[in-house]
């Protein structure tokens, strides 16, 4: 039996919806910048974005220009060495950043939008719509992405960024859709949704203004994960020669390096930089994701507090 009690001072002011939203955003911002992992990852991301935007502007030389220094290791004139045809690797990496990043981000964004629509619709509406959508999602989820992408890309007549982007979107949306669907399913039965429905809000409004804001963290994580996937997949496809091999991007650099047996010729400087860029950028995005995970799930955070003494360190003592 609960003890009846009531407030002596009646709370008469109502917290406005807007100010609570602002509070929420501010809390999120604080969490985001305080979390070391997120800060680190964001730093990396910002770095690459800056390179992508300003790199080609600052370095105006043509990355495809040939030069007589064939396959030379890093030196003062060519900071990262040259390729088989004397092209400057450093230049290529910097210029390629823009292409790879742009393609990766756009692909990731499109795929995430699709996954949001499919996931939220299926999770919210349920019934036949959900059955159909989740069946489609699961089928795409279980089909191996890269082989499908390869087959599609091989058959499409035009080999270029559009093709690669297209096949990557097709193979990349299903993961996010599934996660969002299960989240939406659990959200749907929550009381605030019931209340909105009861007050006659239209489904569209509920989905986009009530449910979606609560899932922002997951959507953000999905977006980043999809971008990582997109960059990796697109690089892989370009490496196989399914992209436009005349443009300079990280992936096409691999293509040319592979075609010219760079490894066998010992030209590590050709291979290392683009891959390192992908790895570092991918790691940066993964760190942001990791951090968001910690924010969303408080249990994963490092626990605060002083060095605990022997008495209370039950686990360590008992270990």
């Amino acid at each position: 039996m609960s003890i009846p009690s009531f407030e002596v001072n009646l709370p008469s002011s109502e917290t406005s919806e807007f100010s609570s939203q602002v509070h929420r955003l501010r809390d999120m911002w604080r969490l985001v910048t305080l979390n070391r992992k997120v800060a680190f990852g964001l730093g990396i991301l910002v770095f690459f974005v800056l390179v992508a935007i300003f790199g080609p502007i600052i370095l105006t030389k043509d990355p495809n220009a040939f030069s007589p220094d064939i396959l030379s290791p890093p030196s003062a004139t060519h900071w990262l060495g040259t390729t088989q045809t004397g092209q400057d690797v450093f230049l290529q990496v910097v210029v390629g950043t823009r292409v790879s990043l742009l393609l990766g981000f756009i692909t990731g964004l499109v795929a995430t939008i699709i996954s949001v629509v499919v996931g939220l619709a299926g999770g919210y509406f349920g019934g036949v719509i959900d059955d159909v959508l989740s069946m489609v999602t699961n089928v795409f989820l279980v089909l191996p992405g890269l082989p499908l992408a390869i087959v599609l890309a091989a058959f499409l007549p035009y080999k270029g960024p559009l093709t690669i982007g297209f096949v990557t979107v097709i193979t990349g949306w299903s993961w996010g859709a599934r996660v969002l669907r299960s989240q939406t399913l659990s959200m749907r039965s929550r009381e605030f949704v019931e209340a909105s429905k009861a007050s006659g809000e239209s489904s569209m409004r509920i989905i986009f203004f009530e449910i979606l804001p609560n899932e922002i963290a997951i959507v953000a994580a999905e977006l980043l994960g999809t971008i990582i996937y997109a960059i990796l997949a697109e690089t892989g496809l370009e490496y196989l020669g399914l992209g436009d091999v005349t443009t300079v991007s990280w992936g096409t650099m691999f293509y040319w390096a592979g075609n010219n047996d760079a490894i066998l010729l010992g030209a590590w400087w050709w291979i290392l930089p683009p891959g390192l860029c992908i790895a570092v950028l991918g790691a940066g995005l993964a760190f942001i994701n990791f951090g968001i995970d910690e924010i969303a799930n408080p249990r994963l955070r490092k626990e605060p507090g002083p060095k605990v003494d022997k008495i209370s360190k039950t686990r360590e003592v008992a270990a």
Binding site: I3, V8, I311
Partner: protein, 426 residues
Amino acid sequence: MTSIRPGEDSTATTNKLLEINNISVDYYAASGTVHALNDVSISLERGKILGLAGESGSGKSTLAYAITRLLHPPAVITGGEVLYYPRSSGGREQQRTPRRAITRVPTRPDTTPAPTDAESAGDGNQRGRERSGYQAQNSPGDITEPVDILQLTAAQLRTFRWSELAIVFQSAMNALNPVLNIGAQITDVLRTHRPSMGADSRRQRALELLRLVGIAPDRIRSYPHELSGGMRQRAIIAIALALAPELIIMDEPTTALDVVVQREILELVRALCREFGMALIFITHDLSLLLEIADEIAIMYAGRIVETATNQELLRQPRHPYSYGLLNSFPSLHGPRRKMTGIPGSPPDLRAVPAGCAFHPRCPMAFEACSRSIPMLRASTAETPEQLVACHLYDPRFNSGEIPTSEDFAAKYEANFEAMIGKRRE
């Protein structure tokens, strides 16, 4: 019979089981330090049932976890000791000897504990000790050399756990491992603490325990999700009984159940305690349960004990204004009609506890001493020295007037209530 005042010589009474002295627990949160327990002291005798009552945040669960050393960071025990008086005279190691099997055999009058080669659960080669119902409490010869649970090493603690002290968690669904069947969850305790038991005798014991708590034996291989809420709670109790512990702590064992099942579980618990002479610490926010089942009741508020009394004493005359409020916040079937006032306000934020007595902002009896100094738990009156209360009303240094009676409490609460209603209408 009732609690001993902290600090008193305790070796005189051999019936003591547990003595908690000045326990303090802090939680470190990002927004400040929470003093979950402040200098809490209380004792418990063998075979007795102690009830811990209080609202959420009073510290009752924290106390239970502190006793059993199950607190994890950011919770830290910042002081105190928990003395446990083991039954055997030879030291801690002998705690491994199994006691008499738990069966529905009527208790025997002979209470001399003689080391015999008593059988236990089919295991015939161990030295066993007879333990015959609750009359063993009075057995002579128990050399009580207390052990501070908080100072046990990891290995000692592991041995101590469950064989001496078991704990029944609040939500049985969450406390049971979803991927193991309940038989396995009983026998793994047996396997750990009674390594000499064979697989067959373990199974026998598990079946016995299930029968004891009223679960059909064919359920031994059932998984937790296949059982109803009441059955899960019984299963948890069965697991707690596995090693015939001296003390069981139950943390809100019936809160998640409907009233019918609640009643069944309570009856079961009471019968088991009576039969096997186990001591029990029963934690709940529902004071009415405690009035029925507990021998002694301790009421907690904001991390301190504010009153301890036997259930009869408490019912007859609650001393602390908070106790009175709790007692009278549920309607009784008999007695004159009266206004239900409840206790105004809500428990304090433990990061910012009011100065002096933590209850004073809500207390209709408060006077100026209450906001200045923290009252200590001491004997309430000369006539009832064993009913302890932490309230300045009973301290002649602060209160030169009369000691309040229930009528005074009632009057003050009602007056307070009227004043508030009047204020609201303005």
